[in-house]
């Protein structure tokens, strides 16, 4: 500590250690207390499920073929994420997931919509007639009357700490018919 450089080094290095300890305590508090759960509802318009055929994957450049079946659906979202915004919340990442069981696989989950909420003012979601943002297609590339459920899933990104996720239990169901039956 006998010259300027040593004192500067000592001060800044200890400051970083203290700051790290303070932020570690903040992260520990958030990890222990969590972000809570909300009653989120996503309601699909079950009579408004359209199946269309488009190109998919390997046949992307074959402009004559359009035999892969995609599902297009609309739904309403009612979820108030305001309780999840505390001093250590950077953003809440909300997704709508469609889950169904098919002939060859027991569990299929498709993310069809997502949204990033960055502040408490924008956290109260009341959305109507939302179209699915991402394509909904099965591995078999054809639908066959599978029964699907929509669930609301959220992930909270803190400023310091671990990511925490949750989901709502209420799901609304709909059926995915083959294209030929429409």
């Amino acid at each position: 500590m006998y010259n300027l450089q040593q004192r500067t080094n000592n001060v800044f290095s200890f400051a970083v250690s203290v700051l790290g300890t303070v932020l570690a305590i903040v992260a520990l508090i958030s990890a222990i207390s969590g972000y809570g759960s909300i009653n989120g509802k996503v309601q699909v318009h079950a009579d408004n499920v359209k199946i269309v055929t488009r190109r998919y994957g390997p046949e992307n450049t074959d402009y004559r073929s359009s035999k892969s079946e995609f599902a297009r659906l609309t739904f309403d979202i009612d979820a108030d994420f305001t309780p999840m915004f505390n001093w250590n919340t950077k953003q809440v990442f909300v997704t709508v997931v469609a889950e169904y069981q098919s002939k060859n696989f027991d569990r299929n989950s498709v993310v069809i919509w997502d949204k990033i909420i960055t502040s408490k003012e924008k956290a109260n979601l009341k959305l109507r007639n939302v179209h699915n943002k991402y394509a909904m297609i099965d591995v078999a590339q054809k639908w066959n009357y599978e029964k699907a459920n929509l669930t609301l899933v959220w992930d909270v990104t803190p400023y310091v700490g671990i990511l925490q996720a949750g989901q709502s239990n209420q799901g609304s169901g709909f059926v995915l018919p083959p294209f030929s039956s429409q």
């Binding site: 006998y2 500067t8 400051a15 203290v18 903040v26 505390n86």
Partner: protein, 86 residues
Amino acid sequence: MALADIIECTIDFEGQRLAEQLTYVLLIASGIVSFVVGYSLQSLQMVMMLFAAGLVLTALVVIPPWPMYNKHPQPFITDKVVEKKE
């Protein structure tokens, strides 16, 4: 003064001990204060700003060679005493 003395701004040993204790006390205090105030205001931004203010204060108190760090200069034997002995 030599160039090294101008750049380094040395302080004596008692001053070094005082400077070291001051850095620890001031930085830990600003850490505690910034955490408590930020937790009560529920704002992480307050934590960071108060801690930055505490860091600037500590730097201003400890780093420059204030006179209080030079109150106990180290007594070295001078050349004249050695020459007389010979």
